[in-house]
Symmetry: C2
Subunit: 161 residues, 2 copies
């Protein structure tokens, strides 16, 4: 059945970021709509942000195109040029390799949500704009390091596991 029953799709919480950086995921939940509907070539997620929550750490992708459309409330797109308020129906694009780090933050006092599309590629490298961290992804999973490839430090990620 192509039409999705959104009431039956699990809401995921938490964060894949290491150590204390995982706190960035607080207040964010998401449904993997594309996965639920059998898509494999790109991911489509519906992401909800409680007041104060962020979509992610500010980042950009080297190999994967990204698209967002706000579907509820007000999201603030933060990129190298500052803050940009986005309301339902507003869209933004982040072409692969464009080194303009971005994330969406709910600076309002009401819930907000957006749809996000990202290409699935065999490998990927992402860079975080506000901290010395990068992520490399391949078939074995994700690896977070400093941008020179050296391990993240306790100062960056704390002693949390």
């Amino acid at each position: 059945m192509p039409k999705l029953d959104l009431t039956q799709i699990e809401w995921l919480t938490g964060s894949g970021y290491p150590g204390k950086l995982a706190r960035n995921g607080e207040g964010r939940s998401s449904q993997r709509l594309g996965d639920a509907g059998g898509l494999t070539q790109y991911g489509v997620n519906l992401v909800r942000l409680a007041p104060g929550a962020a979509s992610s750490l500010r980042h950009y992708h080297m190999e994967q195109d990204e698209f967002v459309m706000v579907t509820e409330g007000i999201c603030t797109l933060i990129d190298d040029d500052g803050d940009h308020a986005m309301q339902p129906g507003d869209c933004a694009t982040f072409p692969a390799g464009d080194a303009n780090g971005h994330h969406l933050v709910n600076k309002s006092d009401a819930p907000a949500a957006f749809l996000v599309v990202g290409t699935r590629t065999p490998t990927e490298t992402g860079y975080y704009s506000d901290i010395d961290m990068m992520v490399k992804q391949d078939m074995n999973g994700f690896a977070f390091t400093r941008k020179d490839g050296s391990p993240l430090t306790a100062d960056q990620i704390g002693d949390e596991t």
Copy 2:
């Protein structure tokens, strides 16, 4: 600037279907949001349907994943299983190679719109469920034929050019 100014993105009309089949495009207009924002790995279009209009002839893709989210009004998804009403926020997925032909039709008396995502692939084959037609796409463009590869007939496409 990642945030798109939708008021500045051209609305396209018309149809790429041959001959009289192009009438299928009447009442439909679309904005190529992904192209406008520099995305190349998948297309993202916002499609408006006037009352009575259809997204396309009923079809399925062999190589490209497709995703839709209704953003305005009521769209009726028609597939092999019949009619499925979709309202704003409702989503549907059409994995590559799933031979369940589909299209969206505005059966209401008010405007409707949806967001659609489709992978960009070097080649593609599409099949039309209700008529004897297929389309093959490569770097040279599109070619419409009968499903056995023979030319479409005047009975199918008329004498219009």
